[in-house]
């Protein structure tokens, strides 16, 4: 915590100065993250089994035909990289929304059952219903929303206590995970590969068919979520204080839940529940941005960067090609453990 937030009997100008400094820091962080994302994005288009110089890549993006590069870059690498960014943004912003709203960094959608809902439905759609890609996405999105509403309804007893919502979510997640493993145990070998994607998350073989719906969801739901950022910050002071400040708490909560779950579900439908991205983006963003202000945008950018880097590493850094979810899972696990320790010691705020 920086010095200017310590309580000192200073004038208004000191408060203003502190606020300006924090805003500037946030702006700088956002700018740096954006530049990094652009750099990794460009790298992931150029680098691979064959290297293509920047000129070729630009030409392909502008729609020219470049022998070789048109297929590799335009059909294989570009949709994959775009989906990595889009899914990362969705997970980052959706995760931090839940963490902020429930005032607990451990309460991300992957822990409280929403990703489990989408995964179980997707596995069911692949193995039992033998649906195609579009059908699977539709089922996963519907199930994600339905599970979120179910958890909300079960936790509702004259208002929702965050604690109850988290615990009920954990119970639902356990049940859904066992359903997923049942469905997988019934799977034929060739379905299994496809279904494993729904346990870890993977960008292998992504095409524009999966990528475009995620982009549309981002365009619609992200602004909706950002419009509630101020109310969400007020709600961090506690429901009663927020109501006193003029926030309609339950209404805000419903809007925010629907928007965040929508983003998570669309991203999950396209790329699977990429482990821990929703979970880690918020706390990482909180660490680099510092106190004060909304974390939605920085966290979204952190999410995008995480997925891009992890996918690149998963493809080329090891002997085997690992799906992106395995990489984020293994990198995320130790950080997660550290985070639990630190959170419990500090008493539980982001």
């Amino acid at each position: 915590m920086s010095a200017e937030t310590a309580i000192r009997p200073l004038g208004v100008e000191a408060v203003t100065r502190g606020r300006i400094r924090r805003t500037a820091r946030r702006g700088a962080v956002v700018a740096v993250l954006a530049v990094l994302i652009a750099a990794v994005f460009a790298t992931s288009l150029m680098v691979g089994r064959t290297f293509y110089p920047p000129a070729d890549v630009v030409a392909v993006i502008l729609g020219e035909q470049v022998p070789g590069a048109s297929f590799t870059v335009g059909t294989l690498r570009l949709p994959r990289a775009v989906l990595a960014v889009a899914a990362g943004l969705c997970f980052g912003i959706g995760g931090v929304t839940f963490q902020t709203m429930l005032r607990n960094p451990l309460a991300s959608p992957d822990i409280i059952g929403i990703s489990s809902g989408a995964s179980a439905a997707a596995a069911f759609a692949i193995v039992v219903l033998s649906l195609g890609r579009t059908g699977v996405s539709a089922v996963a999105i519907t199930a994600g929303l339905a599970v979120a509403l179910l958890i909300y309804a079960l936790a509702f007893r004259g208002g929702v206590a965050g604690t109850r919502l988290i615990l009920i979510g954990i119970g639902i997640a356990a049940m859904l995970d066992s359903l997923t493993s049942y469905v997988l145990s019934q799977a034929a070998e060739w379905d299994l590969q496809e279904a494993m994607r729904w346990l870890t998350g993977s960008l292998n073989g992504s095409t524009w068919t999966e990528t475009v719906p995620v982009l549309l969801a981002l365009a619609v739901l992200a602004p909706l979520l950002l419009s509630q950022a101020r109310n969400l910050s007020a709600m961090q002071l506690g429901d009663d204080t927020a109501s006193a400040l003029g926030v309609r708490v339950e209404r805000t909560r419903v809007i925010v839940i629907v928007a965040a779950v929508g983003l998570i579900a669309f991203a999950t439908a396209a790329a699977g529940p990429i482990a821990f991205v929703a979970f880690l983006s918020g706390p990482i963003a909180a660490r680099i941005v510092g106190p004060g202000g909304s974390l939605l945008v920085p966290s979204a950018l952190v999410g995008a960067l995480l997925v891009l880097v992890a996918d690149l590493a998963g493809q080329y850094a090891f002997g085997t090609r690992f799906p992106v979810g395995v990489v984020t899972g293994v990198l995320g696990a130790p950080y997660l453990v550290y985070l639990i320790v630190r959170t419990n010691r500090a008493g539980g705020s982001l």
Binding site: N104, T163, A174, V337
Partner: protein, 345 residues
Amino acid sequence: MAVTRPAPDAGAARRPVRARSLWLLLALAVLAAAMLASVAWGSRIVGLADVAAALGGADETIEQAAVTKRVPRTLLAVLVGAALGLSGAVMQGVTRNPLADPGILGVNMGASLAVVCGMVFFGLTSPSGYIWVAIGGAAAAAVFVYTVGSLGRGGATPLKLALAGAATSAAFSSLVTAVVMPRNDVAGSFRMWQIGGVGGASFDGVVRVLPFLAVGLVLSLMSARALNSLALGDDLAAGLGERVALVRATAGLGAVLLCGAATAAAGPIMFVGLVVPHMCRLLIGVDHRWLLPFSALLGAALLTVADVVGRVVARPAEVEVGIVTALIGAPVFIYIVRRQKVRAL
């Protein structure tokens, strides 16, 4: 979150022994019926005459052979269910936390991770090897989750423990995926183990887990009286002459042995340890000297029934018992959470 556990009120504590004995007899009868159903029902339903003949040693007809095949599986279900029910009751007593359960606390995932590492990195193939590894993993996970969950203000509240357990499970399970994914040969056998089932049971397997279960049982039952004192709070228990840390360690070791061995034998099975002790508390009160044996009995009955249900609903295929218990257990978990007075963080 405030732990609003019903105080051991005088009425429940002095509930007449006769009523309890009656419940005990009833539980025994239910268990016996479940065991009978378990040897008689399956993809092929066998009549009582054949069951009796087969238990007498005959195996001339297909029916009798089927019964003979089902005996070890029934025994394993009974043992595993008893172990899980008992270890859940002990864990809830030790942590003074109504949501403690080997599945929720991540202990099962600890055992899973240890087993998969044993399979892949140390070439473990024999089930007798799994047991040691699984118990080690379970113990490590239990100690870790409890330590992490009790850091900070308020000690080990239900919320902190459950979150620490769920997060640790998530971390372990992604490590498991990372280890298993590139190795197709291990993936198949591990996937079957992970779902949790008693289908492949043999007498050898049953005999193998017995010593571990026996030690766990003795340790748990020995600490029953001390757990009663512990329920009053650490300070009061110390005032009553209990060595609190020692009791915690003994009872905790017993619980970990039980659920580690059960997990090694039948894979991670969730929710039995959570649901059964709560049912037992409703029936016979909170005295651990009654609660622990009763939890073992009802746990055995529940798992046996779940196994039979799993065999009957999808004939001729089977639904693994771990899935059936999760489907029964999760609604009960949610009911417990909803009934509790939780205050916001």
